[in-house]
């Protein structure tokens, strides 16, 4: 079986999410990559070095900048003439592109797989991760998105792939990119952080969130996350949200501060290795999944913890 993996990249660098997708693809068969973008020859060269990779298809055209699915999907469909499976990360870009490809190929996408059981059988989470379904696809071509935390990352070096340019399928003229507000942060990205400190509604406002959560995160070199309630209330921007409909994380250590532990939040973090919860309510559901719990007022506990570490 020949697979095609969509390579996610930003500012000329391959995103980590791609490496987990390569691992998932390698369990199905030969791994080919697609690097689509504008001025991305360097990305394709780097992609060819990913361990285990065969051919790298390079589609270099302004139409492919900003990963607009209206333009990328037809390109993928073209390449799927000689591939059996298309895989992308189950993140904002992958979820935007892959279903568009699937429908054009008349294929039912298999969303956010957790494992590859065989070439046509996969496990995937449903109901906020409360039910794991094993599904078998009868489609001849497979379109799949991959949960990054469920697969090891392929090594970024050591591969001997070859780059081959492919013709552009052009700009479909349906959509255009206007701009982005991407937060710049020195902190590790949530989806790859080893430690995460997350804050909830209990922080009360943005000032508290920054004053209480961030010093602890800085001390630990941790990424910062949040519950939906904290994001909705404007304490932090949307990209901090962990959960069923936010980011899925699985760090070594997840510290939940003033978060109750709703199923939608647990869905995003319950695969963390060690969960630590700080909450003043000893019956908060978060304690049912926490390895270490501390009952008390976060406004006292967290500053003390930060100073003692």
């Amino acid at each position: 079986m020949k697979t095609l993996v969509w390579v996610e990249h930003e500012n000329g660098a391959i995103k980590d999410a791609t490496l987990a997708v390569v691992t998932a693809a390698s369990k199905m068969g030969e791994v080919h990559l697609l690097v689509a973008g504008s001025g991305v020859a360097g990305v394709a060269d780097a992609a060819a070095k990913i361990a285990g990779v065969g051919k790298v298809h390079l589609a270099d055209d302004a139409a492919f900048a900003n990963a607009l699915p209206e333009n990328i999907a037809p390109l993928v469909v073209e390449l799927m003439g000689h591939h059996d499976a298309f895989l992308a990360p189950a993140n904002a870009n992958g979820k935007n592109i892959a279903p568009r490809v699937a429908a054009l190929l008349d294929v039912m996408q298999i969303s956010e797989i957790l494992s590859v059981e065989s070439e046509d059988t996969f496990t995937r989470p449903t109901y906020a991760g409360n039910a794991i379904a094993t599904v078998q696809s009868s489609d001849t071509k497979k379109v799949i998105t991959v949960r990054g935390t469920s697969f090891a990352k392929a090594a970024a070096e050591g591969g001997t792939g070859t780059v081959e340019a492919v013709a552009s399928t052009g700009d479909k003229g349906l959509s255009s990119f206007v701009g982005a507000e991407i937060s710049k942060s020195e902190r590790p990205e949530l989806t790859s952080a080893k430690i995460i400190v997350s804050g909830g509604r209990a922080l009360q406002n943005s000032e508290n969130f920054h004053a209480i959560i961030e010093p602890l995160a800085d001390k630990l070199g941790a990424g910062v996350g949040a519950s939906r309630a904290a994001v909705d209330a404007g304490y932090v921007p949307n990209e901090y949200q962990v959960g069923q409909t936010g980011k899925i994380v699985a760090p070594e250590v997840y510290i939940a501060v003033g978060i109750s532990g709703a199923i939608q939040h647990l869905a995003g973090m319950k695969d963390s290795k060690t969960i630590i919860a700080i909450n003043k309510d000893e019956d908060a559901p978060i304690f049912q999944v926490a390895d270490i719990g501390l009952v008390g007022d976060l406004f006292k506990i967290v500053p003390e913890l930060t100073s003692k570490l």
Binding site: P69, N96, A102, T126, A131, F287
Partner: protein, 249 residues
Amino acid sequence: MKILVPVKRVIDYNVKPRVKMDGTGVDLANVKMSMNPFDEIAVEEAIRLKEKGIATEIIAVSIGEQKAQETLRTALAMGADRAILIVSPTEVEPLGVAKLLAKIVEEEAPGLVILGKQAIDDDSNQTGQMLAALTGRPQGTFASKLEVEGDTIKVTREVDGGLETISLSMPAIITTDLRLNEPRYASLPNIMKAKSKPMAQKTPDDYGVDITPRLKTLKVSEPPKRVAGIKVADVDELVAKLKAMGVGA
């Protein structure tokens, strides 16, 4: 301009789903069902566009069992003008749903279709994108802000690194994220009024769409269970535990 809003009847978000003992699925007998939360946001956005004079008519559509009528009545009570129920006794996959919606788009020619980004039961996050592909329209997924400007729509999207803005030519397909708006509750008079709003009943056959599933569910199981660990008495004990794990040492 018409707006089409697909709404799905799903397990209420406050209910903890239980996997059936025989491993065939999730137990939905006697479980509270509601409109998918992202679809409420979609209905709300459509109503706001109508209140602004941008939309003229809102059509809610659901594909599912007869009971999905309740979900459509909720949409009507919130402010949708009419509803279409496509009855299917068996679950229809996103690809089938998208094909049925594409037929309705052909019939009704809406300027916008606003869907939820994700149904909280199958967590597929694909129907809107598939509909966009099948109709050849642009897609604005995970929207947190919509601005209609003539025959284009500016969509602010929630993406991994923050926010992104794109411009789409209309007609377009939109999927909602949580921050797009806060849905209203239907008032009692509006719930009464909704009872007399039109609701058409159709079947997949009426549209000539083959909804045979492509995925076979072999098994549904519970995820590995986490067990509650220990509680520590104070910060010093927590610090000791963390240091023992090599954290903050």
